[in-house]
Symmetry: C2
Subunit: 244 residues, 2 copies
DNA sequence: CGAGGGTTTGAATTAGATCAACTCTCGTGG
DNA sequence: CCACGAGAGTTGATCTAATTCAAACCCTCG
């Protein structure tokens, strides 16, 4: 599971606990890329790394927001619930993604691990007190927030105005993009269930399933198993995401 | 229209052009509240204030993003279009709101004035170069972005999982909140058309209209005219926004 | 007074939801 | 080794919330 095991000369575990950041797999991709050597040491003293089992809750909507997280490995779903149980997944996050931009004093959504996941935990107060010393970090977070806002608006367009197949095509291509596998022939990983996809796209699982069959019958994808999709016609899919 | 006209001892127009910020109606409410006296002067040298007629375009999705804006007065809609004309309004903005958090090098959405509007324009490059000198400004923007992300997630829940009436009730209460008029008996201003509301809520104008009649017949609101709504039962409306 | 937005209301249509049955894995244990 | 059950996914039949199509009904403004 952990990629640490295959590193040729991984640091001994003691060192890894004291200073996990230097050996972090996702450092260059995450917000930590904004940090220079000595700053990294400061951060290293604050963070703690921990595994989260599949289906486990990281935090719940309404909880006091006293930590933010970096995902080291795995996949996480963020979601909001209505009192009667209707669920809207507001995002899927993966290795190197940051959780905790959208919060005041309490979390605005719940977070659960989809698969076995490893996260890096930052106590929020301590982190914020570092902003003054490390303006690059704050700048990096602002950029990140900017990107998430753009993604959020794309999702609003999807939820408000796209048809079921268009939603599914958009979802697959966005996921493909995120995985750097958006060309015909590439295989996209789908760690989440159909129910998750439905709750992300504002549909039911039946409609999602029918969407997959449609795309399959139209020769746009293949589905070797329910947790992966092969792009048979990336251009055709992309056309669907912006169809008219 | 302009509240400047009724200020008892408004600065002469020359001074207002050179240093509009000091006399700005929305200064304390906008991101400029993060600025201290001398900083305000620096900013004042950069900004330009200008009126935008109802229906006029501020910028279009895809344009080079070389300015951000503060709304001084009026109302603005942000939206995205699909090639075939389907439109999703991603937000309505009002006096003191900031436009331009969600962008890379190009705007991710278009912006149009709904009513007669006055905006304050910040050249983007110059503004960003000030971040280093004014960390409080960047911090303020990050907070703002955080709030917008929360709002965006609420909107996803609305678009993905709420019924037509629930969407309308949520919209009315959110608008009422923004206007500080969320109690029974209060009147909410609706500067936008039914078409705008429909494109914001992911519905058609007919469904929005039927929604208003429903709320009216259920005694939750009154609609003296199409551009205002009186809250007859704020609690009932709130219940609808989180119904189950 | 007449034209043209914007809005409302009614009737017919449909995309997607709901209800229901069946399949496919996969893990457990006799 | 096979029976069994549970969870996830697919497929079909029916239903419904919202859309589409159509017709009035405002207003305001020239």
């Amino acid at each position: 599971m952990s990629r640490f095991q295959i590193l040729p000369d991984a640091a001994p575990s003691q060192s890894a606990e004291l200073m996990p950041c230097a050996a972090c797999d996702v450092r260059e991709l995450s917000i930590c890329s904004a940090l220079r050597g000595p700053e990294l040491d400061r951060i290293a003293a604050l963070v703690s790394r921990s595994p989260v089992g599949a289906g486990q809750t990281l935090f719940q909507e309404g909880d006091e927001a006293n930590a933010v997280y970096n995902i080291i490995e795995g996949a996480v779903r963020l979601f909001k619930l209505l009192p009667d149980g209707r669920r809207q997944i507001t995002g899927f996050l993966f290795a190197s993604d940051f959780i905790g931009l959208a919060l005041k004093d309490r979390y605005a959504y719940s977070a659960e691990a989809i698969t076995g996941t490893v996260v890096c935990r930052f106590p929020r107060v301590k982190l914020e007190s570092l902003f003054e010393e490390m303006p690059r970090l704050e700048n990096r977070l602002l950029r990140q927030a900017s990107n998430e806002l753009i993604a959020a608006q794309d999702q609003m367009l999807l939820l408000g105005r796209k048809t079921a197949v268009e939603r599914l095509a958009s979802f697959l291509m966005a996921l493909a993009q995120r995985q750097g596998r958006a060309k015909t022939g590439d295989t996209v990983d789908l760690p989440m269930t159909r129910t998750d996809i439905a709750d992300y796209l504002g549909l039911t699982i039946e409609t999602v399933s029918r969407g997959f069959t449609r795309l399959r019958k139209d020769g746009l994808i293949e589905t070797p198993d329910s947790h992966s999709a092969v792009l048979r016609d990336a251009e055709g899919l992309r056309a669907l995401t912006e169809s008219g």
